[in-house]
């Protein structure tokens, strides 16, 4: 009887592991892509005003 159920348990755990691994991959690939894009812009000399020593604050900063 236990062997009959093994396929159900294994597929539940297997599908969950795959989906969560996929979620991890997507979250970290996206994070890396945005970090790279920001670095590429900064390498071209395009910086945020707050980091370029300007007087105005970063958009969205605290009131």
């Amino acid at each position: 009887m236990q062997a009959d159920y093994f396929a159900f348990v294994a597929s539940a755990y297997g599908i969950s592991a795959l989906a969560i691994a996929g979620l991890f991959a997507w979250v970290f690939v996206d994070a890396k892509a945005q970090r790279r894009a920001l670095q590429a812009l900064e390498a071209r000399g395009i910086r945020r005003r707050s980091e370029a020593g300007g007087s105005r604050d970063a958009p969205g900063a605290a009131r």
Partner: protein
């Protein structure tokens, strides 16, 4: 920013309202969250897989140790988004919309996993993969709402424009959360009623309750870790978009 940090002691709330400060703090917190989450998930799943077989359900009871945490997360993530939506509408917190947008895909994954693992559990125990009863249907509606929210938060180029409508959708959708929770009490359903959160205490032996709680804690920590990473990415994405516009303006001028 400087006047806030020097003149008066800023509240935690306003410190976190500064995306740069948020990136610093979350960067430090992140590895600890992932570490704790992985330890708890591994411990919960190990204890769950080595738990004794149920006298009625056999080894299918081990599906509970992932199915129940996924179900809990599907509702908790929408609740987290609802609090964030209040942050958007009431306090205009700059990170509230970032939080909603980052949480939605993670919530959708855990909700669909709740449906899939429940279906796989239902087949041997109920004799059917799916029934359109109150509990299953209300969770399916929650999944559809996650998909709608993902579409809405990604439909417009300018993130600020969709923030308000997304926040309203989240708050309207929140009425579904108590419906899901109490659906097993209000209507006839194949799904069993609550067995952990009960007035008379959990109706479950410790051999099952301990792995279930450890696993639920682990997946909850895992959500917060992933949410933090996704929020950080969203902040960077908005910076990239703003800087790209700046670069385009410079190129024109």
């Amino acid at each position: 920013m400087t006047d806030v940090s020097t003149s008066a002691k800023p509240s935690r709330f306003s410190i976190l309202a500064n995306p740069t400060r948020f990136l610093e703090l979350s960067g430090k917190l992140q590895p600890w969250l992932y570490g704790a989450a992985l330890i708890a998930v591994a411990a919960g799943v190990f204890l769950g897989l080595t738990a004794p077989a149920d006298y009625q359900q056999g080894m299918t009871v081990t599906i509970m140790f992932i199915h129940v945490p996924f179900a809990w997360l599907s509702m908790m993530i929408w609740t987290v988004m609802s609090l964030s939506a209040l942050g958007t509408l009431v306090w205009r917190h700059p990170l509230a919309d970032v939080s909603v947008k980052a949480a939605a895909p993670i919530g959708a994954v855990f909700t669909v996993l709740c449906l899939i693992t429940g279906s796989i559990w239902g087949r041997p125990m109920w004799g059917t993969w799916w029934v359109w009863d109150a509990r299953l249907t209300s969770v399916f509606v929650l999944f559809l709402m996650y998909l709608g929210l993902i579409a809405l938060t990604r439909a417009l180029e300018e993130p600020g424009k969709s923030a308000k409508s997304a926040a309203i959708l989240v708050l309207v959708g929140f009425v579904n959360i108590p419906i899901i929770k109490f659906s097993v009490d209000w209507w006839n359903t194949l799904h069993q009623p609550a067995s952990v959160m009960r007035m008379d205490g959990p109706a479950m032996p410790a051999a099952y309750l301990t792995p279930l709680l450890v696993s639920a804690l682990g997946f909850t920590l895992l959500f917060f870790a992933l949410h933090l990473t996704a929020m950080r990415t969203e902040i960077l994405r908005r910076r990239v978009a703003a800087l790209s516009r700046l670069a385009a303006r410079r190129a024109e001028g």
